[in-house]
């Protein structure tokens, strides 16, 4: 691996001071499961890596009742999976985390790192879009919340500057009696492979009102919500196969799949239809069988 200096700050103050000092030659690391591979492959050649994993205050999952859940940048995917509140409130995100890599790598890979990698196939991004997650972006003297569609602006491209850190993700808690969801992805093997196509479908129910959300990954330069599909679902009381087909059509219109090593454009179109049907049907079945879980 190419040589680099390593800075392991004790707190955010030290991290910001370092970034401001060295801004153009520094990259941030959380788990490092993407970053170290990119350095090994020569895709990035930083002079210095600022390793956020040494900052204890970024290890927490904090539930703010009635408002939202705050997840620090060092929280691993396995900790998200094991967190009872996350499971109860954000089931499609849990399913996506369980799909990510394998049971050992998930001890290291983080949720914030997955978002910050900003790759089209990032497994946790479609459900986070459904849940309207926001990145908490800080500098030494400011703090702002950035919705994910404004953070991720292209493949591996984020809108934030070199002196900013995504310290947390914030997932708001919507008012709902029931939250169900599903994440379905196509990949060549179950573990240790990236998505060829992925669909997240979530449903919040509150006093009889239903709120469907739908997002896709690996099918466009960045994962996206499909608002037309959501509109069809939210305007229909009896969702049958015909409706599911209309939703799938809306999804096909919203995506621009490419041909790459993992699959052809044609395959991706075809498999997307199946993934939409599957995730929707799972969501509806779960809504019938799950107890009011909010």
């Amino acid at each position: 691996m190419k040589a680099f200096d390593l800075f392991r700050p004790k707190d955010l103050f030290q991290a910001f001071s370092r970034l401001e000092l060295n801004q153009h030659e520094t990259v941030l690391k959380s788990g490092g499961t993407d970053l170290l591979i990119w350095i090994k492959k020569g895709l990035v050649s930083p002079k210095e890596v600022v390793d956020l994993s040494s900052i204890d205050s970024l290890n927490e999952i904090e539930v703010k009742e009635g408002e939202g859940i705050l997840i620090g940048t060092n929280v691993s995917l396995n900790r998200i999976i094991d967190h009872p509140e996350m499971k109860r409130r954000f089931p499609a995100l849990i399913e996506a985390c369980e799909t990510h890599s394998d049971a050992v790598l998930r001890n290291k890979a983080t949720l914030v790192g997955n978002v910050c990698s900003a790759v089209p196939s990032g497994d946790t991004i479609p459900p986070l879009l459904c849940y309207e997650a926001e990145a908490v972006v800080q500098t030494s003297c400011s703090k702002r919340h950035l919705p994910l569609p404004r953070l991720i602006i292209g493949p591996r491209k984020k809108s934030i500057s070199k002196t900013e850190i995504v310290t947390h993700l914030w997932i708001p808690l919507p008012k709902a009696d029931l939250s169900v969801g599903a994440y379905r992805r196509a990949s060549r093997r179950r573990a240790l492979d990236l998505a060829q196509a992925a669909v997240a479908c979530t449903l919040f129910q509150h006093r009889g009102e239903r709120d469907f959300r739908l997002a896709v990954g690996a099918l466009s330069p960045i994962p996206v919500r499909v608002s037309e599909g959501e509109r069809i679902l939210n305007e229909t009381s009896n969702i049958d196969e015909k409706i599911a087909d209309r939703v799938a059509d809306a999804v096909l219109k919203a995506i621009q799949p490419i041909t790459d090593v993992r699959g052809s454009r044609e395959f991706r179109f075809a498999v997307t239809v199946e993934l939409v049907r599957e995730s929707l049907s799972l969501c509806l079945t779960r809504a019938k069988t799950e107890e009011g879980c909010y």
Binding site: K2, R8, G31, G32, S101, V104, L105, L192
Partner: protein
């Protein structure tokens, strides 16, 4: 590259090493003679380099050596066993024919060690899931899954006084 001081607990004993900032834990361990930890893909795919860091299985090719400062690292060299005996996980791998060339075995053993601590009575499905990040090119996995079950049974048996030598090997 200047070297940096690193102090951590390796297999129960504090060690003080000098490592380069870009050295992975895998490299540092092997350079310091801990050669049970195997260098496979070095990209997080094969699991041959798996060690246990503070109770969690981790792929050491994706951990920087300096990240384990102050932490506790366990490799198969440190699996507790009675004198002259193997740890029950290692014995189960031998007994069930789960070792052929053996290259993947240390990694599987460490994943299994961390897994059985939290899942003392695992189902086949849980075992498959837990081992999904470790690859074996020889055995076809069935014997490995069986070995994990056998190890779980062995570890759940009460310790017979005197038999374990130094006591609990779990």
């Amino acid at each position: 590259m200047p070297k940096h001081a690193l102090s951590f607990v390796l297999n129960g004993e504090t060690v003080d090493w000098e490592v380069e900032t870009n050295a992975t834990l895998l490299q540092a361990l092997r350079e310091n003679g801990v050669t049970s930890v195997k260098r496979g893909c070095e990209e997080g795919e094969c699991g041959a380099c798996t060690v246990v860091i503070d109770e969690l299985a981790q792929k050491s090719c994706l951990v920087l050596a300096l990240e384990v400062e102050g932490k506790s690292v366990l490799t198969v060299e440190g699996l507790p066993a009675a004198p002259g005996k193997l740890h029950p996980i290692q014995q189960a791998f031998v007994d069930e024919g789960a070792v052929q060339c053996g290259f993947c075995t240390p990694g599987f053993s460490m994943t299994t060690y961390a897994f059985l601590k939290t899942h003392p009575n695992p189902t086949d499905e849980e075992i498959r899931h837990a081992l999904s990040g470790n690859l074996c090119r020889c055995t076809g996995y069935l014997s490995i899954i069986k070995a994990v079950k056998t190890a779980a049974e062995a570890l759940s048996k009460p310790i017979v006084a005197g038999e374990g030598g130094e006591g609990d090997v779990r």
